[in-house]
């Protein structure tokens, strides 16, 4: 495992967030160090995406503190987070459907030459970026609305790599990806760690989590429900923390299939 620094790059302390009549996050804590991959897991609706969005500035927090490299910061809009060095791949991707792949990749960080957009350079870079992620796309000049689910997801991931982030947040990045592309993304996560970036990875796939994460933070109904080092925790322990019970649909299903195969 890579060296982990003392002050975390990003720390959340007691974060609360409410939407209308729903208290989504209640006093959540989280720390991410440079060169560390933190997996954030939890049941559907646990509040993972909401937590990520508060970090990314999409929804400002109601209460609590966000610290960046040890100092308290206010993140009120996505621009703030980007300036700090947070790159985010959202679960809903947040691409501009009417723009083509190149324009989406560089949105907000266009390559310019003498103040004018340098389309040629951007198109070239786009092709390089996408081929690193093993994806085939009919043409990089096609509007993203015409792409398949996986292709869109890859575009969103590639977007996060343009620029110089210190922390990369990936909200279920491999949900729509094929086996090969998933492998490439896991490789990518490992490369990001090697480059000493902090990574927050949200995933429902325990195999992926165990493959790349250093520690696993579990969220349950908007509360922290334990932080586990990956190396020393079993699959079952994590799932029990997620569902809040050892008897759940997963274990029941397992035992049923075990019986059936007997």
């Amino acid at each position: 495992m890579v060296h982990v620094s003392q002050t975390p790059v990003l720390a959340l302390r007691g974060v609360f967030k409410r939407f209308g009549a729903v208290q989504v996050l209640s006093g959540v804590d989280l720390e991410v160090h440079a060169g560390e991959v933190v997996a954030l897991v939890g049941d559907n609706g646990a509040g993972k995406s909401t937590l990520v969005k508060t970090i990314a500035g999409v929804h400002p927090i109601d209460e609590g503190v966000i610290e960046w490299e040890g100092t308290k910061v206010d993140i009120n809009r996505p621009h703030d987070a980007q300036n700090l060095g947070v790159a985010t791949v959202y679960q809903d991707l947040a691409l501009c459907d009417n723009l083509d792949v190149v324009a989406n990749l560089f949105l907000g960080r266009e390559i310019k030459k003498g103040g004018v957009l340098d389309e040629v350079a951007m198109e070239k870079r786009a092709q390089d970026l996408l081929s690193t992620l093993s994806i085939r796309i009919p043409s990089v000049r096609i509007p993203v609305a015409a792409l398949s689910g996986g292709q869109r997801q890859v575009v969103a991931i590639a977007r996060a790599l343009v620029g110089n982030p210190k922390i990369v947040i990936l909200d279920e990045p491999t949900a729509a990806l094929g086996v090969e592309q998933t492998a490439q993304v896991l490789d990518l996560v490992e490369r990001l760690r090697e480059q000493n970036l902090g990574v927050i990875l949200i995933s429902h796939n325990m195999a992926d989590v165990k493959a790349v994460a250093d520690k696993v933070a579990v969220l349950r109904l908007g509360h922290n429900n334990g932080i586990f080092p990956v190396a020393t925790t079993s699959h079952e322990e994590i799932i029990a923390a997620i569902t809040g019970a050892t008897d759940n649909a997963v274990t029941r299903r397992k035992s049923r299939s075990a019986e059936a195969s007997k």
Binding site: L99, G115, Q127, S131, R136, L188
Partner: protein, 430 residues
Amino acid sequence: MSNTNEASATVPAQAAEAPAAAAGAVKVVDPRLLVREQGFKGYWTEFKRKVRSGEIGSLPVVVGLIIIGIVFQLETGNFLTSYNLDQITLYAAGPGIMAVGIVFVLLLGEIDLAVGSVAGLAGAMWAVVGTDIPDSLAIIVGILSGTVIGAFHGIVFAKIGVPAFVVTLAGFLGWAGLQTWVMGDKSTITTPLGSFVRDLTSYYFADVAAAYGLAVFVIVAFYLAQLRDSRRRKAAELPHRPQSEIILRTALLAVLCLLAAYAFNQEQGLPLSLVIFLAILVITDFVLRRTTYGRQIFAVGGGIEAARRAGINVSWIRISVFMISGTLGAVGGLFLASATGGADRSLGGGNQLMMCIAAAVIGGTSLFGGRGKVWSALLGILVIQSIVQGLNQMNLSSNAIQYMITGGVLLIAVIIDSVSRKTQKTAGRA
């Protein structure tokens, strides 16, 4: 700001420094993409495919324009004259410039209903303050009043969150009221003799060389730009336009430009109004397609949330676009005043607003944001102004019929356009 962006964007740290990944790389372009065959046969098959699947851009409107020309020529016997071309250009400039502003707003997926009233108010401001201060200052006051109003619309919309439709609806009423108030007890203020506003639609570059010169300049500039782009793309190993296609396009443009230049020279020469209108089109087109700012306008029009998450300052884009639309509305107002001989209480009122919006939409700019170009303002206003001129010439017994025909022709123009786009939609390119 542009510098920092450039710097950060050119460092693809993670991806580029990872040779391991490159090993598994695939060619990004999909093998299933159908490519055009070489040679002219290739153009033809591709053209047929594009027509079938509706990717033909402004072709329907251009065809519509040609049909309108032919029909009126057959009806009146003297529609396709250089005089008419000159007149249509002259009256098209004002509404056309206003329509450019509307294109900007439509690209955001919003609408500006106040543009006619702003034009009227700007005309009134210019005329009223012009009685006391020098003409050039008065013109600036007139135009700036449009900018300020646009900023006001933008701020109320972007910062307070009132729908743009409502803000500009209020403006539509309010500014027309202010216009009457500014005019005070005068119902008309005639343009003073020496005023530049008078020249806007009455000055001509009478020298034959002017029109031809401009035409040649446009053609050469177009050719060189296309050539340069194609060369750069070729050098970067990206798909590029073949030399033959560039020459074909340039030739088409050349015929059009030179014909127009010839026609203008038959009359009084190159009209100043056309030069200004074209300049505005070229500049705004450049801004929209070649700058970060233009890209951001499209992004906001395509999806506010996605744009916001990309770090774009959505409020500023909105406010600035309404400022542009206000400013261009004011400039258009001065053209209207010029064309009718002065500012009056009803300047910019009536159907003016609807005509400007119709021009933008007929030209192919989507009402739902994120799709369109400023040239649609030119095409659209030419269609509309041709219809108006033609119907006037046909000397119909009643205006009622004239209205009905205008409505009908507009509808047909857009139906043609929509049908072609419909094919496009079923072909999956909505």
